[in-house]
């Protein structure tokens, strides 16, 4: 199978799932599609023919994460402004209408890193250590993001977080207590 055939096959057979995954991370269908296609190109351009093709999806998923992280870094200001405008402009053709609209809104309220941590931990079911590796964060940072995210989600979803993580106290006062 040529490289081009391989990427087309992966895009055709796994593309929707990958876009769904990227959508959870980005909250925007068009952005998710762009991120996935960029990740496919990024991965297959660098991949040697016939080498590790069976693991291509794993590489693409990591590239999606990298792309989301990079994109958010560059477009954070734009996204922040757009998020504030979202309620005013109403649904557009890119809107993904779901029954769990409360979850959709709650996720939209999270910071990009919080959102990524939540998706990897609760959608991908990755342990904290692997979440940290995937996002190139320390485990402590991931626990803090998850803790903050759960607090926020708990408020927005009118529920209490079920799982808590011990977070190292910050500052001398906290250490003394």
């Amino acid at each position: 199978m040529s490289r081009q055939d391989a990427v087309e096959t992966l895009a055709r057979e796994r593309g929707p799932a990958l876009v769904g995954y990227a959508y959870l991370l980005t909250g925007d269908l068009a952005t998710a599609q762009d991120v996935v296609q960029d990740a496919l190109v990024h991965t297959f351009v660098r991949m040697r023919a016939g080498h590790d093709a069976q693991h291509a999806e794993a590489y693409v998923r990591q590239a999606i994460l990298n792309g989301v992280r990079d994109g958010y870094r560059r477009r954070r200001t734009f996204l922040g402004a757009r998020a504030r405008l979202a309620g005013a402009v109403g649904p557009n053709q890119d809107t993904v209408a779901v029954e769990h609209v409360d979850v959709q809104r709650a996720l939209a309220a999270l910071s990009p890193r919080e959102r990524a941590c939540v998706v990897l931990r609760h959608f991908e079911d990755l342990p904290v250590r692997e979440v940290a590796e995937a996002l190139q964060l320390s485990e402590g940072a991931v626990k803090r993001y998850l803790s903050d995210a759960r607090s926020r989600l708990g408020e927005l979803l009118a529920d209490e977080p079920e799982e808590t993580w011990p977070v190292r106290p910050a500052g001398p006062a906290a250490r003394r207590s």
Binding site: Q4, E8, H100, H122, D159
Partner: protein
């Protein structure tokens, strides 16, 4: 909340996937076409990037330039690190050398000789293709000094060389090699005559060595120099203007008269007139004496010269510096070697694979047979430069750079490899990366503006 959250995310993902299917037609084919287009443009990029690194990537505008790729620039300023920082510099102290002596240059190699240490390096202008007309041409960066902190820049009477990456001590003095910089006459056809420098006074003064006076073509760079008993060998990249030989082997047994193996060597007709046959057309990145033999490492770029993008690691071993045999290197596919260093138990060679693009080490007791040593980083994207290895006692410092996708810049990265083969990330700011004669230099290129000289506490 968790179950509700999971259910919500599952639905969101599924609906988004369905919307994607509804809205796109030919999306998969477009992805494939994009891959094809990018690969067409960057087809030789992977091989070129390796070639650039392998051949001493700082040469630009040389005859290699047409197949070098844009190796990611290393981020110029250090960033906070979360990796281990303790213990690396235990046993070292600052020698108190004035940083101005090194300026903004970076030390790349050093050698101890007669109670002194001689260091070579790169000026920050390395890689500059064309000199400004009339601009002052800096002298090649060479320094010499002692553990008590007395350091000076050497006097060099030779065409400018911006980046030297190897210095060796031989029975005929010191030889330093690297990649050239601009001369005063940018239109001169000898503009990129490569630097091989020699010092016969312990590194205080240096003169250029002209390898092939009177012959057509010229040496564009000298990737490696090695010594075995009374024989000194140098590997060069050479061009005649219309053709390029990436690994031409030269040898001398008196320090004055150099002979090019292959063409012109009537005593070895089997080599014919193609000097590249010595190393099968491969790029040589480093030479090192290992026990009683000389070891060369590098990469085969694939026919023709990396056009297929295949870059495989190669190693050779020689008992006399003239006849070279392939070393057994099982894990070579797609994994060029960039550096080799002697260790108390033999030798280590460092390289990085094109896919996954991660660094690795090979270990050998005698240079003739190699085995993968330890498990390097398993994720991220990282590559190793030409100077990648620094044995420190029973540990080995591996210097590389990494891309995390968040920037066009590569980030300097260092690992300490312990005798059990475990790679430990270490803070790039606290590890001496070049050590000779109890003197260490840090930080590594791209990690700081100045070089600090360190001395082992026992000295």
């Amino acid at each position: 909340m968790s179950e509700r959250l999971r259910a919500g995310m599952r639905e969101m993902s599924q609906v988004a996937a369905e919307r994607h299917v509804d809205r796109v037609e030919g999306w998969a084919a477009e992805a494939g076409a994009r891959v094809r287009r990018v690969r067409r443009v960057r087809g030789a990029a992977a091989a070129g990037a390796a070639a650039a690194l392998l051949a001493g990537a700082l040469v630009t505008g040389s005859a290699l330039a047409h197949r070098t790729a844009p190796v990611p620039p290393v981020r110029p300023a250090p960033a906070p690190s979360e990796v281990q920082t303790s213990g690396i510099l235990e046993g070292w102290h600052d020698a108190g050398v004035d940083p101005a002596i090194f300026g903004e240059a970076t030390v790349t190699d050093s050698v101890a000789v007669d109670g002194k240490v001689v260091a070579v390096g790169c000026d920050p202008g390395a890689g500059v293709q064309v000199a400004d007309p009339g601009a002052a041409v800096p002298a090649p960066p060479i320094w010499f000094g002692t553990a008590d902190g007395q350091w000076r820049r050497a006097t060099v009477d030779a065409p400018a060389a911006y980046c030297l990456h190897e210095v060796v001590s031989t029975p005929y003095g010191l030889f330093a090699a690297g990649v050239p910089g601009p001369t005063e006459q940018a239109t001169d056809t000898t503009y990129y005559r490569g630097p091989l420098l020699r010092s016969t006074d312990g590194g205080e003064t240096w003169t250029g060595v002209e390898l092939d006076p009177g012959e057509a073509g010229w040496v564009v760079q000298v990737p490696a120099v090695g010594v075995l008993d009374d024989r000194v060998v140098a590997v060069t990249t050479r061009t005649t203007g219309t053709s390029l030989t990436v690994a031409t082997l030269w040898t001398t047994t008196d320090g004055d008269t150099w002979t090019r193996l292959g063409a012109g060597d009537r005593t070895r007709p089997a080599l014919g007139d193609d000097p590249a046959r010595v190393f099968d057309g491969a790029v040589i990145t480093d030479l090192e004496t290992v026990g009683r033999d000389l070891v060369a490492v590098g990469a085969y770029l694939g026919p023709p010269a990396g056009a297929q993008g295949d870059v495989d690691g190669r190693a050779w071993v020689s008992q006399d510096g003239l006849e070279w045999q392939h070393a057994a290197l099982p894990d070579r596919d797609g994994c060029p070697l960039t550096d080799v260093a002697g260790t108390p138990t033999g030798a280590l060679a460092a390289g990085w694979c094109l896919w996954p693009p991660l660094p690795y080490l090979e270990r050998s007791a005698d240079g003739s047979a190699w085995q993968r040593f330890g498990q390097g980083p398993t994720d991220g994207f990282a590559y190793l430069g030409v100077q990648a290895l620094q044995p420190l006692g029973d540990r080995t410092l591996v210097v590389g750079a990494a891309l995390d996708g968040s920037s066009v810049y590569a980030t300097p990265r260092q690992w300490m490899v312990t005798p059990d083969g475990t790679w430990h990330p270490v803070d790039r700011l606290v590890a001496p990366f070049e050590v000779a004669g109890g003197v260490g230099f840090w930080p590594r290129a791209g990690t700081g503006p100045t070089t600090t000289v360190l001395v082992e506490d026992a000295r």
